[in-house]
Amino acid sequence: MAINVRIHPLHPNGSQRVEIGGRLDTHTYGELDDRLTLVLAAKVQSLLLDLAQLEYISSAGVRSIFRVRKLLSERGGKAVVANAQPQVQKVFDIVKAVPLSEIFRSVEEADAYLDRIQKKIVAGDGED
């Protein structure tokens, strides 16, 4: 089984929604890494990883997501997770690679969160 990655257009709040489907494991994480590297090369502030179609994730896949979060946090950005299926959510719960506050049940909730973050950043810039 393979992995499906679909990258949506840039959201007005500066975040990029990425749908990941299929299996994210030791054989497929490389493909995700390649796709996300292209996305991150642009000046993306935040990533919304929509995992609605993701059936399976192993620690190799978790590491990919972890790596993306680390890269983004270095530039002050966020990578949040939405729509994780129960078995995927279970893995996240165990390894705690993403804080619970940044795992959302729906894309809408995640967007609202990223909007707030964006406003905060803009307000912060204005103060400078």
């Binding site: 030791t26 399976y56 192993s58 620690s59 979060r69 893995v91 165990i94």
Partner: protein
């Protein structure tokens, strides 16, 4: 690692090289010059002072002597005049027969003519004058405050007076001691008594002349004007007539004064006075320590003595103040000179400071910083130029070091490439399946340098068996590596064509001898394993005989007749040892890097330790790793002196197929992992296990398999197998691998609470396995690591 990183020694900043003022060359130069000058001046002044002092004292003493002489002469003149008056009176009375009245008139005229006298007595014995009556009449000069007095009329007992009797007996005039005279106006007087004789030299009376002491002492007034100079006058019997100290005059004799006031220093003067001789002497007043120079001068033959003394302090007063002034000027000169030196020293110290600052910049690598004062012709210029030369030399050497480092780096990277090429020439470990048995060939090679001369290899035999070779080229490093490459190729070619190890070695010897101008050689062990029967045929070209570890643990050194090493002779023959590798037994071969590994005390590892390390090994991989571990532990950090190669073949019962449905070679067959996961899923679906459990089982297998593929190779893993079972309502997954004993679950859990930025990416897989499973058990079984994972499952009711 709590210690902070060591600070690189920082170059001194120009500010840091500033010398504190008290350590500065300038200050020291100034102080030394000032001190030296002050000492010289002080010594000069002291010498001058001493000389001047001696001179001043001598001068003052001479002056005092002179003045004493002058004063004595003046006094003597006064006294002589009185005596002349008295003698004139006597002459008059002797030569001219005078009446009483005429005698008194003459006396008055005499007294009047001498300003020193204030009165005089004329006494004549009875029967001398014309009226034969005695006479005793005192003639006073009314103008000088002294009245006349007729002593005879007053009933004065003249004859009863000592001084009258003494005068009558005297042959010459004599001066009386001073006495207080009420009649003559309450003054101290001294009297010159002269005897009166007739022509027959009979004593007929006397004449005396009174002189106030004041008249004598007034001539000494001028002496008192000199500071520190004192005068004293002593009467003939020693009575003090004039004395600078209040209350001494007329109250004491000199002897009495000496006794009364503790003036022992004046004793010599008293004895000189008594003998009527002069004396010059220096004495100290014991009462106040005053040192004085005194001159005692007798006043003519009158019996009086004059003392003139001058205090030593007074003599030196002028000298002292002059010396003080000179000292002050000297100190000022020393100070000015020291300041001048301070200014001059700037010409040395300022350039020195600037040069030091430049040196500081060189130390921090700023070699283009200019060196000041390098054009000066003095020592500073010499130093500046020396500094410049040193700087240029350092810069040159640094450049050279940089060039060497670059070359070395290039060489190193070439060596790294050579190393990876050489490693790629060594074959992978391999298993050969026989009839129900499995022969596992394992080898490990650790070069002492980047590249080495040890080698091992195995090639398939055209008859169905396996060739194996193990060799050690003389020397180490690049030359050995090149010869090793040739040896491996030659041996492989020879093995492909040969059927017996002695033939292969003989063939290889012939080829390796050709064109071996460098005289390199290799010791080689060559063997053939018949995988169908387990039979072994081994030949040695100068190599250590291999060891056979039997199933019962006994270790046998194979009795192998060795031939010459390859590379010496083109024609040589070799003996062949034949034997069989039984199940559970193990053939172990090695290069001398093992037995000749040295510890820090230069002791060799040796065969005994090799046997001990080998004894407990249960598989070829364990034997190789165990021996290497033992060698490393023995050397414990001592530098590796030679390439180390170990090689082992074991014979094990092959695990039955089906029990372990899926076997993967690690890490070559990583791509087959999805196949493995699919097989796991399919097997569990067949058993109607729920989807969640299948997911977890797949996750567990993937994590553990990946872990083995990523990290297991280091531990000698080259095969893994997965078994599945359903026991007591749980899915049991067993994963086994043939690496060195290692329990992955013993790995500490990752710190999941750490900040996202701080957390390492990794260590998550094992954590997942641990969290997903209900129970995990690790065991070691027949050379395999076996990890048993139990997962909760929802199973259909049976």
């Amino acid at each position: 690692m709590d210690q902070p990183p060591m600070q690189a020694p920082s170059a001194p900043s120009p500010a840091a090289v500033r010398v504190p003022w008290h350590a500065s060359l300038r200050t020291r130069l100034m102080l030394w010059v000032g001190l030296l000058l002050a000492l010289l001046l002080l010594a000069g002044f002291a010498a001058a002072f001493l000389a001047a002092r001696e001179r001043v004292v001598a001068d003052a003493e001479a002056r005092t002597r002179y003045e004493a002489q002058q004063a004595a002469d003046r006094l003597d003149a006064t006294m002589r005049s009185v005596r002349v008056s008295g003698e004139a009176m006597i002459e008059l009375s002797n030569r001219v027969s005078l009446t009483r009245g005429e005698l008194l008139a003459a006396m008055e005229a005499m007294l009047d003519a001498n300003p020193s006298t204030v009165g005089g007595l004329v006494a004549v014995e009875p029967g001398v004058l014309a009226d034969r009556a005695p006479m005793a009449y005192y003639v006073g000069i009314a103008a000088r405050g002294v009245p006349d007095r007729d002593l005879l009329a007053d009933g004065y007992d003249l004859a009863g007076r000592d001084w009258y009797q003494r005068t009558l007996k005297a042959t010459s005039p004599w001066w009386s001691e001073p006495y207080f005279n009420e009649t003559a106006g309450g003054r101290y007087m001294t009297t010159l008594n002269l005897p009166l004789r007739d022509r027959e030299a009979r004593r007929i009376g006397m004449v005396s002349l009174d002189v106030p002491v004041q008249a004598l002492s007034s001539s000494l007034e001028s002496l008192r004007t000199v500071t520190g100079q004192r005068t004293a006058l002593f009467a003939p019997a020693g009575t003090v007539a004039v004395h600078p100290e209040r209350g001494v005059a007329f109250a004491h004799s000199l002897a009495g004064y000496i006794a009364r006031f503790g003036r022992g220093d004046l004793e010599p003067m008293e004895s000189a006075r008594a003998q009527r001789r002069g004396l010059q002497f220096t004495h100290a007043d014991a009462r106040n320590g005053t040192v004085r120079y005194s001159v005692l001068q007798p006043v003519g033959d009158s019996g009086w003595s004059l003392q003139l003394s001058l205090a030593r302090d007074a003599m030196l007063a002028g000298l002292d103040s002059a010396m003080r002034m000179l000292g002050l000027i000297g100190a000022l000169v020393a100070l000015l000179l020291a300041l001048a030196v301070l200014r001059l020293a700037r010409r040395i110290t300022v350039p020195l400071t600037e040069l030091t600052a430049s040196a500081g910049h060189f130390a921090s690598g700023e070699f283009d910083w200019p060196v000041p004062h390098d054009a000066r012709g003095d020592e500073v210029g010499v130093m500046a130029r020396a500094l410049e030369r040193a700087r240029d030399s350092i810069r040159l050497q640094l450049d050279e070091i940089g060039r060497y480092a670059a070359e070395r780096q290039k060489l190193q990277s070439e060596l790294d490439i050579a190393r990876s090429i050489q490693r790629s020439m060594l074959p992978q470990d391999r298993d050969f399946d026989g009839a129900g048995l499995q022969y596992r060939l394992r080898a490990r090679l650790e070069p002492a340098k980047a590249v080495g001369g040890d080698f091992h290899g195995h090639f398939p035999h055209r008859g169905g068996g396996a060739w194996f070779v193990l060799g050690d080229v003389s020397d180490k490093g690049v030359p050995a590596a090149l010869f090793m490459a040739r040896a491996v190729t030659v041996l492989e070619v020879a093995a492909a064509a040969g059927d017996a190890p002695d033939q292969v070695l003989a063939d290889a010897a012939r080829h390796l001898c050709e064109g071996n101008d460098a005289c390199m050689f290799a010791t080689v062990l060559c063997g053939l394993l018949d995988t169908a029967t387990g039979e072994l045929a081994i030949a040695s070209a100068g190599h250590d005989a291999p060891l056979l570890r039997h199933a019962d643990g006994r270790i046998e050194t194979i009795a192998l007749e060795s031939g010459p090493a390859l590379g010496f002779h083109a024609q040589c023959s070799f003996q062949v040892w034949r034997g069989r590798l039984q199940p559970g037994a193990l053939l172990f071969a090695y290069t001398d890097g093992v037995t000749e590994a040295f510890d820090r005390d230069d002791a060799a590892f040796g065969e005994d330790r090799l046997h001990a390390a080998l004894r407990g090994s249960r598989s070829a991989a364990e034997a190789c790793d165990g021996v290497l571990r033992a060698v490393h532990a023995f050397a414990s950090g001592a530098a590796q002196s030679d390439d180390i190669t170990v090689f082992a073949i074991d014979c094990a019962t092959r695990p039955a197929a089906g029990e372990w449905p899926i076997r993967l070679r690690v890490p070559d067959e990583r791509a087959r992992l999805p196949e493995l996961l699919d097989a796991v899923a399919a097997a569990l679906r067949d058993a109607a296990v729920d989807g969640g459990c299948i997911h977890d089982a797949q996750l567990v297998v993937e994590e553990l398999a990946c872990n083995l593929m990523d990290h297991g190779v280091r531990g000698g893993v080259d095969a893994l197998a997965v078994g599945l079972a359903i026991e007591a309502g749980r899915v049991v997954v067993e994963i086994r691998d043939n690496g060195a004993a290692y329990d992955p679950l013993a790995h500490p859990p990752p710190d999941l609470e750490a900040d996202l930025d701080q957390r390492p990416i990794g260590g998550l897989g094992i954590h997942l396995v641990r969290e997903l499973s209900q129970r995990t058990v690790y065991r070691r079984e027949d050379g395999w690591n076996v990890l048993r994972i139990e997962l909760d499952a929802i199973l259909p009711a049976t």
